[in-house]
Symmetry: C2
Subunit: 192 residues, 2 copies
DNA sequence: CCCGAATGAGACATCAATGTCTCACCTGCG
DNA sequence: CGCAGGTGAGACATTGATGTCTCATTCGGG
């Protein structure tokens, strides 16, 4: 939430445009520039003033998404303490930017660009390292590959974002339900 | 649904075309008809001979997807026996058609049609009923809503399908890792 | 009050995807 | 062999999205 000064009209902040675009595109990759603009509450002309074209918009979206997730990884301090607790902190941060994560998760095949691939690889490596540490410390199961757990983590975070968008899940519950399901599973404790 | 014999060339079966289309479109919703055709190993002209247009293709895709999932629900006999075991059977059936499920899961906002919405609602209700039964019998946790568990189930099945497509997961392991993660979670048993 | 900056609405050309068509080819069968 | 059905390649017009442009409007600041 940038509280910078806007000299004239109440311009919609660039980041807010990107957020709206991410949430729309994560659901409908075929959304037109006009739909994207209206979802952000601006006109198509203004959208084009911010981003040269669809390609530039998607590039900015990918860049911001990667940056937000990496900032989340930093904030979660995933190299410290109990792996399970680190994972919960990571999920806290990730669900906060679930919209962008859902976009990256579902759309990374489109508009492939080297920096985006590299950024995603960095994120993947860091999350994988955490899960590997958890496995080696005996906290996480050894019969589920870390690669699958990474995929499952992002899938659940993205799903939580969609559930929130669709009103099936309260935003404040997203982090908890993802963490509880990913870590503890769906079975009642007495039943396992 | 004509299951007639093909008298001349080795025609690519309609269902195989739909399967290829589902796997491609679940990843890249913007794929062109030409890309879809080539992913199925046929020409654009032949694709148009099978399906009047993109709309008809997507409709057929949705119809077949819903049908396959409902057949899977039938085969899994989810109303019988231990809910956890029923859920494992359901996941077995669902991962077998993960490509179609991933398509339906990610693309159901596009090309909305009444029969598709109704079909998805039927599936949702049946899976929800199973989870509700599991909760009432004390097998499934009561602190995770059934709506969330339904979303998570489909998200994990779809994710497993993508992981298989991308070569990060062996197809024969898909059912196991989804079921183990969804039911038991990622924590080592001794650690919880 | 007036000016400047940013916006929204709309016109316009361009481009890629789409849907339809024709035609030549191949294969299986009588 | 000759035919018939299915196919691939390609031409063609059409459509919708896109990118660029102009112009009037509006709001904030000096």
């Amino acid at each position: 939430m940038s509280h910078l000064r806007y000299r004239c009209l109440m311009s919609v902040p660039r980041e807010q445009i990107l957020k709206a675009a991410a949430e729309l595109l994560s659901r409908r990759a075929t959304a037109s520039m006009d739909e994207i603009a209206r979802s952000a509450g601006i006109s198509r002309a203004t959208l084009h003033r911010h981003f040269a074209g669809r390609e530039a918009l998607v590039a900015a979206l990918g860049e911001l998404g990667i940056r937000q997730i990496e900032e989340g990884l930093d904030a979660a301090r995933i190299d410290e303490g109990d792996p399970a607790e680190a994972l919960r902190r990571l999920i806290d941060e990730a669900t906060a930017v679930a919209g962008f994560l859902a976009f990256l998760y579902g759309e990374n095949e489109l508009y492939e660009s080297d920096p985006m691939v590299a950024g995603w690889a960095r994120v993947d490596a860091r999350v994988g390292a955490l899960l590997k540490r958890g496995r080696e410390e005996g906290v996480l199961r050894g019969d589920l590959s870390t690669a699958w757990l990474v995929d499952a983590l992002f899938a659940l975070v993205a799903a939580s974002g969609w559930s929130v968008q669709d009103g099936r899940l309260a935003r404040r519950d997203a982090s908890r339900v993802v963490a509880e399901l990913l870590l503890g599973g769906a079975l009642e404790r007495s039943a396992r």
